[in-house]
């Protein structure tokens, strides 16, 4: 018996939520938390177990994905315009990718969902209630895993893999500090604080991502297996 899917609030008009037999699994976390690695590992594992996987993420919509990328390069849009642009990108993927994939029985793996844009926007002064309403038409995921890492781990991993810091991930647009390193730490702390607030409002699991890839992957597999068993009790997964 399949658990019925629902949205946080009223569903988007014209969107049929019946017979969505797939699972929606969300992985959240800052850049360098290992998020994309774990999405990749889970996808591989699920497909080896015979589950079709569809991946979604930020800035991947056909509708506005390219424009969003360009807007980030130029740093010329106001925070509110960016919020709405990200929401457009999200809903395009919800209606045109996620829902059809769930109807086809796929596991949709979301490399970030509504929570990252919400946390980032609140840090930039957006009203939390306004954001809740904006994203109220999103599907409630079957599970959300937030990969949490300490400042130290985040800095070490970021510097090791990129040889520097990213403008947006350092919150340089906020003018917190002239020095990128200091700004990065302050910004990431603020985003993490917002995630903690979101964690209380929306139901999600915090995963300690300071550990090794194998350990985290084993934990995620275990949790995803339980989600799938609750949706498809008669299927087995290694």
């Amino acid at each position: 018996m399949t658990k019925a899917k629902r949205c946080f609030g009223t569903p988007p008009p014209g969107l049929d939520l019946s017979r969505l037999t797939g699972a929606l699994i969300v992985i959240e976390g800052p850049d360098s938390s290992g998020r994309s690695t774990h999405v990749g590992l889970l996808a591989e594992w699920l497909e080896q177990n015979g589950y079709p996987v569809v991946q979604i993420g930020l800035k991947r919509s056909r509708l506005v994905g390219n424009e969003l990328e360009a807007a980030k390069e130029g740093n010329v849009l106001s925070p509110r315009t960016m919020s709405l642009f990200y929401a457009t990108d999200f809903y395009d993927q919800l209606e045109n990718t996620m829902v059809p994939a769930l109807r086809a029985g796929s596991v949709v793996l979301a490399d970030r969902y509504t929570f990252t844009p919400m946390a980032r926007d609140v840090v930039r002064g957006a009203d939390a209630d306004w954001l809740d309403s904006l994203y109220s038409k999103a599907l409630v995921p079957d599970a959300v895993f937030y990969l949490q890492v300490s400042d130290r781990t985040l800095v070490d991993r970021t510097l090791a893999s990129h040889g520097g810091l990213d403008y947006w991930e350092s919150g340089m647009d906020l003018g917190l500090e002239r020095d990128w390193f200091g700004s990065f730490i302050k910004y990431q702390r603020r985003v993490r604080a917002e995630f903690h607030k979101l964690h209380k409002r929306y139901d999600f699991s915090i995963v300690n991502a300071n550990r090794s890839i194998d350990t985290i992957h084993a934990e995620l597999k275990d949790r995803v297996r339980r989600v799938l068993q609750s949706i498809h009790p008669n299927q087995s997964i290694s």
């Binding site: 988007p12 509708l63 849009l77 395009d92 109220s136 038409k137």
Partner: protein, 226 residues
Amino acid sequence: MSPRRRHAGVLIAVEGLDGSGKSTQIHLLHEWLYGLRLRVHFTEWNSSSLVRNATRRGKKKQLLTPTTFSLIHATDFADRYERQILPMLRGGYIVLCDRYIFTSFVRDAVRGCDTDWVRRLYGFARMPDFTLYFRLPLETALGRILEGRPSLKYFEAGMDLGLSNDLTESFRIFQGRIMEQYDRLADEFPFTTIDATRNVYDQQQDVRRIIGEGVDLSQYRTRVPR
């Protein structure tokens, strides 16, 4: 919504069906105010350059759903609002808007988006000091459009609603629904309704009288020589 007069400027919006003549009227109003050497700024719906390409592609390829249609217009509006409308108001300008948030309220309602969600989406926008609603019978508006512009575009005709396979017929039904929504908003919000069946000159006299009486125009003289 923000109270009136929070900022120094004046916000004037025109709304109405396609073919109601509202763009002509706001153009003439703009010319008049400009000629009086006042601080005046004109802006129109759907014109923010960054969002324009995405909107165009979405429309051309028919990628838009009611929700993304609504959001992409809100994105466009937010960009113009924060970049132009709000700063101009704070700088003490008379800002003229050819269509404002009510255009989204009516279109999104016709496409089935829930009213509360749309209203909250635009909750950041200041209410106009004057909303001039150019009202005319549906058949008159349709006649003006269908006579002059034979090729209707897909979303303009509301084809995404599946009202009819015929473009013209779809446009008729769609415009009828838009009109119903405008009339509802006219009951809810303080619109100034203008009879748009009369000749352009007479309507413009009314518009100028309303603005001339409602705004102390001497406060808005340009401070920069031109």
